[in-house]
């Protein structure tokens, strides 16, 4: 039972389209993804909502069967919302108390995953589920860190100062690493912290492309001369 509604506990096979517009039973729009291997170990800790499937070996087997049945595809993209079994249970735990303070990110990530599960170009899902125990931490991390629509939206528009998060006070995980990586790649501007920059004038002068927009979180947009050259010629 890869997907489970966190409100009523109804389960859906992987790749199911039923859940795309919310749970048909209770209308809930939060689902947790539980790979087949996870049920044995973690069902107890997570605390199944009422009416959920028992955590017997049979259910795991059923889940694999169910996953394979509707189609041969399961979705790497869908899987992104579901990290390793361990992380999965931790991440999704807030969903158990769904009505308390549901995080938008969990919510949107889940619905994204649900939406992308529809994508037809995916590999065989059964195999993936079986392999998941071998997954290393890097993969697990990559799976769990889905860019939220909120973040995408923020990066794509001009930053409204009123909404600007005080990144200095609340550093988001990964921002520092990202900043370092960018600094290594583009030494023309070193972003010390938001609002503090060091500029390498020679580099800026020597570069063909130039920076046209710095983003709040340390990213920046550059204009590549080749990009418009190809378009125009």
């Amino acid at each position: 039972m890869p997907h489970q509604c966190t409100s009523c506990g109804r389960t859906f096979p992987d790749g199911s389209k039923e859940m795309l517009s919310g749970c048909p039973d209770c209308g809930g729009n939060k689902f947790q993804f539980k790979p087949a291997g996870a049920t044995d170990n973690h069902a107890d800790e997570v605390g199944q909502p009422s009416g959920s499937a028992p955590d017997s070996p049979d259910s795991a087997a059923d889940a694999s069967g169910a996953a394979a049945e509707p189609s041969d595809r399961t979705t790497p993209t869908g899987d992104q919302a579901a990290p390793t079994p361990d992380e999965g249970s931790v991440d999704r735990r807030p969903a158990d108390s769904a009505d308390a303070t549901p995080s938008d990110q969990v919510e949107s990530a889940s619905s994204d995953a649900a939406a992308s599960a529809d994508s037809p170009t995916e590999a065989d899902g059964t195999e993936q589920i079986a392999d998941r125990s071998d997954e290393d931490t890097a993969q697990a991390s990559a799976r769990s860190e889905v860019v939220s629509p909120d973040e995408l939206d923020r990066a794509s528009r001009d930053v409204d100062p009123a909404e600007t998060p005080p990144a200095e006070e609340e550093p988001q995980p990964g921002i520092d690493a990202l900043r370092d990586e960018l600094n290594d790649q583009f030494e023309s501007i070193r972003i010390v912290s938001p609002g503090q920059y060091e500029l390498n004038l020679m580099e800026l002068y020597d570069r063909q492309e130039y920076i046209i927009s710095l983003q709040e979180d340390g990213r920046y947009v550059i204009e590549m001369p080749d990009a418009w050259g190809i378009q125009d010629e």
Binding site: T164, G195, Q196, Y197, N200, L201
Partner: protein
């Protein structure tokens, strides 16, 4: 926007090459922040066209996008020189929002200004490489001219073989020391002026006609 600007600029570069004698030279006004670049640009534009180029301010990095005033005709000794003036953001190696906090600015505004100023410097450096035919380098004569930025920019301008005029601005202020600037860049002629008061602008225009005509 950038794409169109680029396209327009590259077209105008080509035409510049074809009609070099007729097209106005594009003169970039460069220098560190708060040297008086915009005040000078406004002074020149007002004297010869009646318009201004952009707002002036005591707060550094008031100009965060290059601004252009085209077809400024300057007449000197019966000779007419047409130039496009490009007022550029102050070039610096460090931008810190904290320096704006002293000017009664909220932190959010200061951070944004800082970001825009950094983009402006990047743009100004890009223009220096691609888009100017000559440089008016403005320095505040009350401050030490021996800085990394000044040395580097003058070096770049010289390496490009661009005609450059060095102006020692703010001679109306008590601490003004024109000689210090002349000593710092002995290979160039240094013209004293007060763009704010309009002092010695005649000589400035004569030199502009001479250097960029």
């Amino acid at each position: 926007m950038g794409l169109l600007t680029n396209l327009r600029d590259s077209i105008s570069r080509v035409t510049d090459g074809l009609f070099a004698a007729d097209e106005p030279k594009r003169i970039g006004i460069y220098g560190p922040p708060n040297a008086g670049k915009t005040t000078l640009a406004n002074r020149i534009a007002r004297d010869w066209t009646g318009d201004a180029v952009g707002p002036e301010s005591h707060i550094p990095h008031e100009t965060r996008r290059a601004r252009r005033k085209e077809n400024v005709e300057i007449e000197r000794n019966g000779r007419k020189v047409t130039i496009d003036i490009v007022d550029t953001p102050g070039v610096t190696t460090k931008v810190d929002y904290k320096e704006f906090l002293d000017h009664d600015m909220e932190k959010d505004d200061a951070v944004r200004r800082s970001r825009e100023a950094t983009e402006g410097v990047a743009e100004a450096m890009h223009w220096l490489r691609e888009d100017v035919d000559g440089v008016i380098y403005v320095l505040d004569s009350t401050t030490d001219p021996f800085t990394q930025v000044n040395t580097m920019l003058i070096g770049i301008i010289e390496s490009q073989d661009l005609p450059a005029l060095i102006l020692a601005n703010k001679t109306d202020l008590p601490g003004s020391d024109v000689q210090q600037i002349a000593n710092a860049f002995p290979q160039h002629e240094t013209i004293p002026l007060s763009a704010l008061e309009g002092d010695n602008m005649d000589e400035v225009y004569t030199k502009i006609a001479e250097y960029f005509g």
